[in-house]
């Protein structure tokens, strides 16, 4: 037991004597949260729209104005000629083209219906989907407006009888930052766990001190605890710093229990520390450890539901995410912070994470040898 204390003392001395370490602990979470949460924003504004108004009627002009006034679209081009507008789309100067055909107003009044053509540049599928969605909402609003006006003139010519309205629970303003910040915190904690711990052990291999430790009667379990515990504490500290930044800068809600969240983070960190340890057992240099950690990190992050919803992945990929510890943490942190979920809602995830921690550390410890 005393051995562990000497090991911990040594590790902390080395960690805090390392000039890169303090910035990593303090600056990294702040910068990462500030930059990424603004950058990873799915809301798209100022998409370029080309409007081809072949009707030039009061209604067609009103629709065009409404489009531009929404704030989502910027009028990039306007003409009577559809072919010219397609050219704008092809040369990337426009993201979408709206063609209002001739007799738009006449058909709308006479036949009670009319059509509009929307052409969206779908190279970026997400952007295209959003452009389409926004445009549809605006056209719908336009439709409702004119029908309300008609209704005022003639009660028999009324608007549709029902309308679907949405209410966004848990994140009413559909604020992406509230959604992203907890997820980015997960990435931060993951990096501390998997990168720093693994690199630290491999560094001892690189400089040769591991051999000296291996000829001492130091117990394998003591060595491992001495190596991982400092990074466990740093990871939790990082979590606290990140949560504070989230609260102060982005005002993310803390609906659930922070204690529960830290408990989960604590278990999750052991999984990642175990991964770092495992990587350190079969690498010889910090560079190798870095590359392998990076490989896992990219897969874990992309398949975590952090940036893209898991529901939109194909079935086999969805099954793969079940083996991704990051996925569970992203889910739990969002549930606890944004929905206020309690033990009853997240206990299953706790169970899974404990299994992960046991499995990962068992493999890592078995793989770690005191012999060369």
């Amino acid at each position: 037991m005393r051995t562990i204390l000497y090991l911990l003392q040594k590790e902390f001395l080395q960690i805090f004597r390392n000039k890169a370490m303090l910035p990593i602990i303090t600056v990294m979470p702040i910068v990462q949260l500030l930059i990424l949460s603004f950058a990873a924003n799915y809301e798209i504004k100022n998409m370029n729209i080309a409007i081809v108004d072949q009707d030039l009627s009061p209604y067609s002009k009103r629709l065009s104005q409404k489009m531009v006034a929404s704030g989502y679209f910027r009028l990039a081009y306007q003409s009577m000629n559809a072919d010219e507008a397609y050219e704008e789309l092809a040369s990337d100067r426009a993201d979408l083209v709206m063609v209002i055909p001739r007799h738009f107003e006449r058909d709308l009044i006479k036949h009670d219906e009319s059509s509009i053509q929307l052409l969206v540049n779908a190279i970026n599928g997400t952007k295209a989907g959003l452009a389409n969605g926004y445009a549809n909402v605006i056209i719908q609003q336009f439709n409702n407006e004119i029908r309300t006006e008609w209704f005022a003139l003639d009660p028999k010519d009324g608007p549709a009888h029902f309308e679907i309205t949405f209410s966004n629970w848990y994140n009413q303003g559909m604020n992406y930052r509230i959604f992203m910040v907890p997820g980015l915190l997960v990435v931060l904690v993951t990096m501390i766990g998997a990168f720093l711990s693994g690199m630290n052990i491999v560094k001892e291999k690189e400089i040769g001190t591991i051999e000296q430790l291996n000829v001492t009667p130091i117990r394998k379990s003591h060595f491992i605890i001495g190596k991982l515990l400092p990074f466990w504490l740093i990871g939790l500290l990082e979590m606290a710093v990140g949560l504070m930044v989230g609260k102060i800068v982005f005002d993310i809600p803390f609906l659930g229990s922070i204690g529960l969240l830290f408990l989960f983070s604590g278990i999750y960190l052991w999984v990642m520390l175990g991964l770092g340890l495992l990587i350190s057992t079969f690498t010889e240099t910090q560079q190798q450890a870095m590359f392998i950690s990076w490989f896992f990190m990219v897969i874990f992050i992309l398949m975590s539901g952090l940036f893209t919803p898991i529901e939109s992945m194909p079935g086999w990929a969805q099954k793969m995410t079940l083996f991704n510890p990051l996925m569970y943490f992203v889910k739990v942190i969002r549930m606890v912070l944004l929905k206020g979920s309690g033990w009853a809602q997240v206990q299953w995830f706790f169970g899974v994470m404990v299994l992960f921690a046991i499995a990962m550390n068992t493999v890592a410890v078995l793989n770690y040898r005191k012999t060369v």
């Binding site: 051995t3 090991l7 040594k10 040769g208 000829v215 001492t216």
Partner: protein, 245 residues
Amino acid sequence: MEAAYAITTDGLTKKFGDFIATNNITFQVKKGEIFGFLGANGAGKTTAMRMLCGLLKPSSGKATVAGYDVYTQTESIKLNIGYMSQRFSLYEDLTVSENIRFYGGIYGLTRSAIKTATAELLAKLALEKEAKSLVGSLPLGWKQKLSFSIAIIHNPAIVFLDEPTGGVDPITRRQFWDLIYEAAHAGVTVFVTTHYMDEAEYCDRVSIMVDGKIKALDTPAALKTTFGAATMNDVFLKLAREANQ
């Protein structure tokens, strides 16, 4: 028999695939002896030493260190030996006294024992002024002396030294050997590899390894007589030349 010898080996062999690094070596090291373990680069010295320290499992043969078996009692061996590897093994980003405290601590010395040992060690090496300097800032010769002193901080029965004086100037080497003599005087068995033949002369007994086998083992004086050579250097060259033919 066990009591008289610090190290015994019998047919100790290590194979890496088809390559036999250490081939069937048999020797005994007496307690309190300074045993020189010589050989050209790649002769298998480090492999043999690592097996004796419990860092490497032998392929076959028997060996005991401080009375413990190298297959089954490696952790007991580790409690009773000190080891100084070819590569510098102190932490350069810790100070002199932090290194002493750390190694003392993991060998189970009490806090007060560490304090006394630190004071003695610093006085012996005249490093009192450097106690709070980072080890990385010390000259190589000082580092090596410090390294040796830390390797025996827990008063082991045997200390293994793997080319401890590599790259060190002659004066510091002389001082280093004074430390070795001092330790041997206190009853520590010293098992040392070296490439400096003048150092071989300082040993009580010397073995010379060629291509994984022990080709000669005796006192330096007896070896010189047997091979009709004036110095240990000539003995070594004769044996090594044989191997090349």
